[in-house]
């Protein structure tokens, strides 16, 4: 396979994958609205695009199969065929067949079974046959007859429309092309209809031509030249006998002058040449000066310098490396600032230069970050099929609505939320939405609804999964928790506690292992996965009305902003999204309840934790309180000092060290020293447990 072929094939595969996703989503839409014209049109278009693309990479199998489907779809579109669940099923199966064919090429999977292909083809055939029997063959262009394929003479008359230039057709170009294909014997241009200069419209054509040619290959090359123009212009091509030629030849003044001996060929050519150069002609006529013509010609040159703004595919790993390097640059920049500050003074020029550097680095960082942002659409849309399949297996009727699909977030995060979201949706279908009978009994629409919505909020991405199912049943959860040994016998959970319980390790309400949720991943795994990307998950549930899971995830993981603090001579970073407020410590405001300290904050009492003790450090000066937040919970940490705001690149500790409690990683500070990044979330989680 040549490079071009393999490159084309790669493009085709991406292209095909895109079209197949569209196809599938639209098929799901079609199931809901079988007669929606837009949906049918989109499906048709996507099939058509697929067929066309397959032709370019010589995938005749895919091309042939999609062609048959295209017929079926055009019958649907033209309302020759009434849509039915049967047809939709055929379309779904066809999609799977095409998917199989394409996966086989990309060696992602086994090619579909030939018997399966034949079966689906037969179904398509049987359905379309009912409408238009024998309409399988495609219309072909009429082949021009071969009667005058020998060397012969033609008289060509060209009368173009006045607005011919607007159709992109240039008569001169056609005549030039003609002169390459045939031997032009004579050309006569009629200028009679050309008006005088004041009323001449430069964008309109008033010329017509009569051309006599000798064509060595008959009529075909001439037809080819005018194939486009002949449709909407008056073009006649007529074969003539050799003896008709002389009369025509004599009508050409130049030829006549030569024949009569007044001029010779060289003299005629000399005059003709001059006519070709419009600039010189205009100068000579005194219409413009030579200088103007020269400057315009120069401009023309400049205009041709084109700007390239094509797109480029980049390996995300390369982007990661760039981001990492930018992170290092950020660190070195902070270091320069620190070194200069240590000197005790900075002059205006140094300060200005550093500020400028800051600005460029920020822009650079923002631009590179932007390249990593992708719409969440590609992650969310495949779930429609998942929900459809799971619901169908369980004989439930469920509609999945996806909102905010254009919300953008870091590519690596989209990959990491895919699995948690998949499990949550499965759970919603499995345990959230009731069977149609149960729903009807409860006075609900037998068809359940799940809404999957993504949005941006406070520099984070918010993903919500809401269902209108039975909600979290606190009695059932209590019972299960006791069974699993997570709760003491005799205790009763509140709704809030029951909601939290489902995230506990070892708790899974899955009664049995269904064939869809497979091993039945518990919500604890989902929560861990989301926590591992600095995300948070919350649930709100109203019994009988449904549940809403809310996930907060950061836009990106590569560079974060943090507050540098000091605790007992140790420096630590707290990610800025966790920080709510700093306060100087006022001992009288800290209340002691049993062994625990609390402080009033926003009309609630929140726990106060001595960070140095929690981390096993010596006691520090303990001058500040910093309030940190995770989900809906706040806690106050006693620290020594707040140093400032920093941009940091997170370095994972686990690559080289074992996991440190309450630490999300480490970073290198401006002075080259290392600071640990405080994981406020795990601190809060630990406290709550």
């Amino acid at each position: 396979m040549s490079d071009i072929d393999s490159e084309m094939l790669e493009v085709f595969l991406t292209d095909a994958e895109e079209q197949l996703t569209i196809l599938e989503n639209e098929l799901l839409n079609m199931e809901v609205n079988p007669d929606d014209e837009e949906t049918i049109k989109t499906i048709f278009r996507s099939m058509h695009t697929l067929k066309g693309s397959a032709g370019f990479v010589n995938l005749t199998e895919v091309e042939g199969f999609t062609h048959k489907l295209e017929n079926l779809l055009s019958d649907l579109r033209d309302k020759k065929l009434k849509n039915s669940p049967e047809i939709i099923e055929i379309l779904f199966q066809s999609k799977d067949v095409i998917n199989g064919m394409i996966n086989a090429i990309s060696t992602k999977g086994e090619p579909p079974d030939q018997a399966k292909i034949n079966e689906v083809e037969k179904m398509i055939h049987d359905i379309t046959k009912t409408v238009s029997p024998g309409e399988d063959q495609v219309e072909m262009d009429e082949e021009p007859s071969d009667e005058d394929s020998n060397k012969s003479f033609f008289r060509i008359e060209l009368k173009f429309r006045t607005d011919v230039y607007e159709t992109g057709t240039d008569p001169i170009l056609l005549i030039e092309d003609l002169s390459r294909q045939c031997n032009v014997i004579s050309t006569t241009m009629k200028i009679k209809s050309v008006p005088l200069l004041p009323s001449l419209k430069p964008f309109e054509n008033q010329l017509s031509w009569k051309i006599i040619v000798e064509s060595p290959k008959g009529r075909k090359p001439i037809d080819d030249v005018f194939m486009f123009a002949a449709i909407d212009n008056d073009i006649s091509i007529e074969m003539i006998e050799e003896d008709e030629l002389e009369v025509v030849e004599e009508s050409r003044i130049g030829e006549l002058l030569i024949r009569e001996g007044y001029l010779d060929e060289a003299e005629i050519e000399e005059v003709m040449d001059k006519h070709m150069k419009i600039g010189e002609e205009l100068v000579k006529e005194g219409k413009v000066t030579k200088k103007i013509v020269d400057t315009v010609a120069e401009k023309q040159e400049q205009i041709r310098k084109i700007q390239r703004t094509n797109t480029l595919r980049i390996d995300t790993e390369k982007l990661d490396r760039i981001i990492e390097s930018i992170g290092e640059v950020v660190v070195v920049k902070s270091r320069i600032r620190e070194i200069m500050e240590r000197k005790g003074w900075m002059d205006l020029e140094e300060e200005a230069t550093l500020t400028e550097l800051d600005r460029y680095i920020n822009n650079l960082q923002k631009d590179v970050m932007d390249t990593r942002m992708v719409p969440i659409k590609d992650t969310l849309l495949p779930f429609r099929r998942l929900v459809r399949d799971v619901a169908k297996k369980q004989e439930k009727e469920i509609e999945l609505e996806i909102l905010g699909e254009s919300t953008e977030l870091d590519k690596t995060i989209t990959e990491k939320i895919k699995d948690p979201l998949k499990h949550m949706l499965r759970n919603s279908v499995d345990h959230g939405i009731e069977s149609p009978e149960e729903r009807e009994k409860a006075g609900k629409d037998p068809k359940g609804k799940i809404i999957l919505e993504a949005s941006h909020q406070n520099g984070e991405v918010l993903i919500q999964i809401s269902d209108d199912g039975k909600g979290i049943d606190k009695e059932a959860v209590t019972k299960k928790a006791i069974e699993r040994g997570l709760l003491e016998e005799g205790k009763v959970l509140t709704q809030e506690e029951a909601n939290k319980m489902i995230f506990r390790a070892g708790f899974s309400t899955a009664e049995k292992i269904t064939d869809i949720s497979g091993r039945g991943v518990g919500m604890d795994v989902v929560k861990d996965n989301i926590n591992s990307i600095q995300g948070e998950i919350d649930i709100r549930s109203i019994p009988g009305e449904g549940s809403t899971f809310t996930i907060h995830i950061p836009l990106t993981l590569a560079i974060i902003e943090g507050i540098l603090i000091s605790v007992a001579n140790n420096r630590m970073i707290i990610p800025i999204q966790s920080v709510v407020k700093f306060l100087p410590i006022e001992t009288e405001k800290i209340h002691r309840v049993n062994e625990e300290q609390t402080i009033e904050f926003q009309n609630a009492y929140i726990p106060v934790i001595d960070l140095s003790r929690q981390l096993g450090f010596n006691d520090g000066t303990k001058e500040m309180l910093i309030i940190v937040q995770s989900g809906k919970s706040n806690i106050a940490l006693i620290i020594d000092e707040v140093i400032g705001k920093y941009q940091i690149v997170i370095k994972s500790l686990e690559e080289n060290f074992k996991k440190v409690k309450y630490c999300a990683g480490a970073t290198v500070l401006g002075d080259g020293s290392v600071a640990l990044i405080l994981d406020a979330k795990s601190l809060i989680r630990n406290y709550e447990h």
């Binding site: 067929k51 370019f56 992109g168 486009f228 700007q307």
Partner: protein, 125 residues
Amino acid sequence: MNKNVLIVDDSATVRVAVKMALKKEYEVIDAKNGKDALDRIEKFYAGGNRLNLIITDINMPIMGGMEFIKEVKKNRNVKFVPILVLTTESQTNMKMEGKKAGATGWLVKPFKPEQLLDVAKKVIR
């Protein structure tokens, strides 16, 4: 002197095929649909460039080929730029429709690179 071609097609495969076929002789820019193409044209001309040929598919999402051609004909910058319509064998009527809308010619998909180059040369000034 560079000559510029714009290919408008929702299939990346076709866009790449056109680029490869024409890249020796022309600079090729691309767009995914009519609307995208109009934006592209505006920016391209704002950058001081000119187009010498537009190749467009008919059946595209957001803005299809016919509507796009009509818009091109209303646009002072590109009104006179030749337009080739990409059709398939099963869409013979599209040739006429395309001509009526103001296209210069057509090309039947799938085409060989040489075919495209030939046709492009026929209409590029």
